[in-house]
Symmetry: C2
Subunit: 398 residues, 2 copies
């Protein structure tokens, strides 16, 4: 099934067995299915039933927050300046390294559950707040533990180059070499499906990312990149040359970069949350669509630049800030996002053979996702056919 097709049916139904969609149809045709006598029948009462959201770019594994930094940035400090002062990501690295395994795991599990309650059934989770390989491996092992009992499907990514550790300032080459070596360990332990790097002016250059990408390829892992977020450094073209799984951010990708993505059919993952919170111009979706680049959207949830929670808010921001139509945003947050995680045949559409990943909305018009910012629209989320039960939200009464 191609990117762009979510399998929409007016007045439709979905039949599921063992977490997999076994049939779909419209109107009363379901009555001719041979159901087992105990099969439950759920009536959504005319409400929208749609594929579960796929969030293809998150940094969910971290401790602490950096809310003070948001206030500082508004007083004029830009993100790269905050970074150079040892704030920004380095504050989260410190907090994450200092947190116990139990604390990190508790945070991560709670965030996965919240994502599920808000309709996400597949989510990418990056490491990246350890920086040193040993700390990155610790995070990936915690992500693996959370993944094992997560109600939603977790796609782990080793973010090998996120920032240079402050104590490595004189030692860039050795640091990059160590990160490249860690890729083989990550692959051997099955800790990640992909390897990521932050390619940006003043962060990491393309030539520095090359050994990481090479190691990923040799280890059989996919490549994905933080590309051209704040400046065009040619990272989008590089992503295409590396046959990356996706090129993410891309707010400042050049026309050549877009042509390269289109030729290689690589999805651009747009992240309007960071544009909104940091205050830079969000990527213009029309540029990508005109260039035939498939678009996915993600929360980019992270404590420093996109504290956004859940895909409905990401959809609303993508529509208003990037200029997607509501239906384009739904495609971008389901089937296209599944493709961006190499899961284009597994989820993202309500068609036979996919996982029964679906969401029921409190509306009969899915466009409300795009405009009802803040509305509690997700009534129920089923991941592989199982209802995700939210945290106990009532207060104790003695």
């Amino acid at each position: 099934m191609a990117a762009g097709d979510v399998g929409a049916i007016d007045g439709g139904w979905v039949a599921s067995r063992d977490g997999v969609i076994v049939a779909t149809g419209r109107d009363d045709a379901w009555e001719r299915l041979e159901l087992t006598p105990s099969a439950p029948i759920l009536d959504a009462g005319g409400a929208v039933v749609m594929p579960g959201f796929v969030d293809p770019h998150t940094h969910l594994c971290y401790a602490g927050h950096r809310w003070d930094e948001f206030v500082a940035r508004r007083s004029g400090a830009d993100y790269l300046a905050v970074l150079e002062r040892g704030g920004g990501i380095h504050a989260t690295v410190r907090a994450t390294r200092e947190a116990t395994d139990d604390a990190l795991l508790g945070n991560l599990r709670a965030r996965l559950l919240t994502a599920g309650v808000l309709g996400t059934t597949t989510i990418e989770v990056k490491s990246g707040y350890g920086l040193e390989p040993d700390e990155e491996l610790r995070q990936l092992r915690l992500i693996a533990r959370a993944r094992a009992d997560s109600p939603i499907d977790v796609a782990p990514t080793y973010l090998a180059l996120h920032a240079l550790p402050t104590q490595r300032a004189e030692d860039r080459k050795a640091f990059i070499l160590a990160a490249a070596k860690a890729v083989a360990i990550v692959a051997a332990e099955g800790l990640a499906e992909a390897v990521d790097a932050f390619v940006e002016k003043g962060v990491f250059e393309i030539d520095e990312v090359r050994p990481i990408a090479k190691a990923a390829r040799e280890a059989g892992l996919a490549i994905t990149l933080h590309a051209d977020q704040l400046n065009d450094v040619g990272a989008t073209e590089f992503a295409a040359r590396m046959k990356a799984r996706s090129a993410d951010h891309v707010a400042n990708a050049s026309a050549d970069g877009l042509r390269a993505l289109a030729r290689a059919a690589i999805p651009a993952v747009l992240l309007p949350g960071s544009a909104f919170f940091v205050g830079y111009a969000a990527p213009d979706a029309r540029r990508f669509l005109t260039a035939n680049v498939p678009i996915a959207i993600a929360t980019d949830h992270n404590p420093g630049t996109s504290p956004l929670v859940g895909m409905p808010a990401a959809i609303a921001l993508a529509v208003t800030l990037c200029g997607l139509t509501p239906h384009e945003a739904i495609v971008a947050s389901t089937i296209n996002a599944a493709h961006a995680l190499g899961r284009g045949e597994r989820t993202g559409a309500l068609v036979k053979g996919r996982r029964t990943d679906l969401v029921i909305l409190a509306t009969d018009d899915e466009r409300e996702l795009a405009y009802g910012l803040g509305a509690p629209l997700v009534v129920a989320t089923y991941a592989a056919g199982t209802l995700i039960q939210g945290l106990q939200r009532s207060v104790d009464q003695e």
Copy 2:
């Protein structure tokens, strides 16, 4: 109690009787209260307990939606141009006039309940999609019915001048005269606490609003204005001269306008939702704070320019787009918003003698409201001491 003080207590508690706060304190001092034996004790477990939100500017009573218009605007049509073509508000006026009483009332009740579930305990609701006085009275009577059984406190406003009905194009003076006459009927029937008008270039001029303001004063109703939203037309100064209850929007208010509000201690109600969705520059909160103008914030929920739902999203937008700090935004959405509705002594703070209007958050840090855009942070809302139960959100199982 002054604007700006919400009565914050670290490790605090609140005691309520008959919907009114009878005591507050910290730590274990509540054990010395003489409780009735059956009094329930709720333990929020260290989570934030804060005053219920006050949403001081909404247009909740309408039928239909105008989502297509958002896409059109993005293609270059500006709001006043859409209006001139008979789109914009006129589309909602048609849909609202055509809707049955039951349909309008059902919509309105559902929206009030959703607002309550999201933490709002007091809300302003304007008429304004009838335009002709008879239709406006119909809407106000429906608002009165919804108010009578609403779980949250509803402050109704007669929006007397919102747009000139298309069939009245040759007849401005007669239309305005009829609206001014309707003010007395509204007051006699107790249908509104305040009268509002949209003062804007190409909509209504100050001289046209004067008879409405005069009628409001004579009828003992408060005045509030949509002032200087898109252009500075001197409406903010006019609001101050009229001793308005609040001046709303004010994104383009002049320095003189701000000085006039400060002198009269009139709150400016900032509406970041419409700035976000329409794409104009949101009001800069620092300008108002520096000028000593009390700031309130509101959703401005309406189908055309701010489909935003609930105060948590309004807070997040106000912090990022208007530059409020998280704590300033909380003050702006509670005690200051209560002042903007003439309820500064009734709600908006957790202090003895106020209504027991409170919200329990799923966090121990209230600043998460400002940054966790999309997060389901409101665990429970109590309006006058009664828990607001949400709509049945589960799906029917046969």
